[in-house]
Symmetry: C2
Subunit: 210 residues, 2 copies
């Protein structure tokens, strides 16, 4: 058992951290990274984290030489180049751009879901803005519809950066927005998610019970 | 004069679009991209755009074969691989991760500044939340302090993805948050920005008068 050479600023509830953890599982690199658990929110920053990452966000990855990398996309690509297996992010060609675009769409789902979470959970109730919430929810629905109608075959073709990102987005919707009931409207996506959820990498990184 | 083979969903006020435009200037690819100007906000989506990019965000880049790439980071890297000059995103090694991390910090400045813009400009006044605004502003200040104290030499070393991203972030602060008066507290960053602002790529892409 080697001593971990890297430190990952971590929270079990963060879907952006989860993407990194899933990649570490899938590429056999878990023992290279020590986890430093951080509690934070946009209105309750963490001073320790801010010293290493002035953006104040997780995940951040401190390397052996003290360099700190962020955000999740940079970390994912860095870690994907540190193992000898098949890359989970295609290195070049049209596959690279398409898979990264699907991953970006998954991140957009997450951004919208996190915005909804902040609005409904952090912000005082009298300051909630329904038009904002509705538009964030519409964005999620449009993205899910695209995945269901146009991307399901691509998603099923490999468990790579695109699939990891979409799985973490769907897992976050289940975690924070169970009332969305997205499976009813997106049965192919639901079937795909049920299948990939059996992977050890996703089982081991499920969000805590809300 | 060749016919543009790509279409960029564009707004002259978007700092994320500006990064792409600056890269097109710097790499001599302007004539390869037609601009499709889009008017949108998070509470006033654009149906045309949503068809091509369900995330409903700009920039999005439609390629000759109809494929649409997003978001700005994916587009920047794609376009950086379509020219024969020096790459503006290092292809590998520690330079890649450090330059992308600085770019990510610049994006975090932009995300916070855009959040402040949405809060103060779009959201009804009685629903403004000071604690949220204060924390977004703190994030910007922390990031600027890091750039001033720890990254100025790196920024000055090359006008690449890191410098482009920081320049577009500072330009957006001037455009939307002039009262921030960041130059007083960050003189080295101010000097650097004054110098790079003379570049044709930045001059040609200045945001419109607010």
């Amino acid at each position: 058992m080697s001593t971990p050479s890297m430190t990952l600023f971590h929270s079990p509830a963060s879907p952006f951290v989860r993407k990194v953890m899933v990649l570490l599982h899938e590429t056999g690199q878990l023992d290279r990274v020590a986890l430093k658990t951080i509690v934070l929110s946009p209105v309750n920053p963490n001073a320790d984290l801010n010293q290493d990452n002035p953006a104040g966000k997780i995940p951040a990855l401190r390397l052996a030489d003290g360099t700190v990398l962020h955000d999740s996309r940079v970390i994912l690509e860095y870690l994907d180049q540190q193992h000898v297996g098949n890359p989970l992010i295609p290195r070049e060609g049209s596959a690279r751009w398409r898979r990264l675009t699907i991953a970006s769409l998954a991140d957009a789902i997450l951004d919208a879901a996190v915005m909804i979470r902040y609005e409904t959970f952090l912000r005082p109730q009298e300051k909630h803005w329904d038009l904002w919430l509705d538009n964030q929810q519409d964005k999620i629905e449009r993205a899910l519809t695209h995945l269901e109608q146009d991307a399901i075959a691509e998603l099923s073709s490999a468990f790579d950066i695109a699939a990891i990102s979409v799985a973490c987005a769907l897992g976050y919707l289940d975690f924070r927005m169970p009332d969305l009931a997205w499976r009813k409207r997106h049965p192919k996506l639901a079937k795909w998610f049920a299948e990939v959820s059996e992977r050890p990498s996703l089982k081991a990184t499920e969000p805590p019970v809300a």
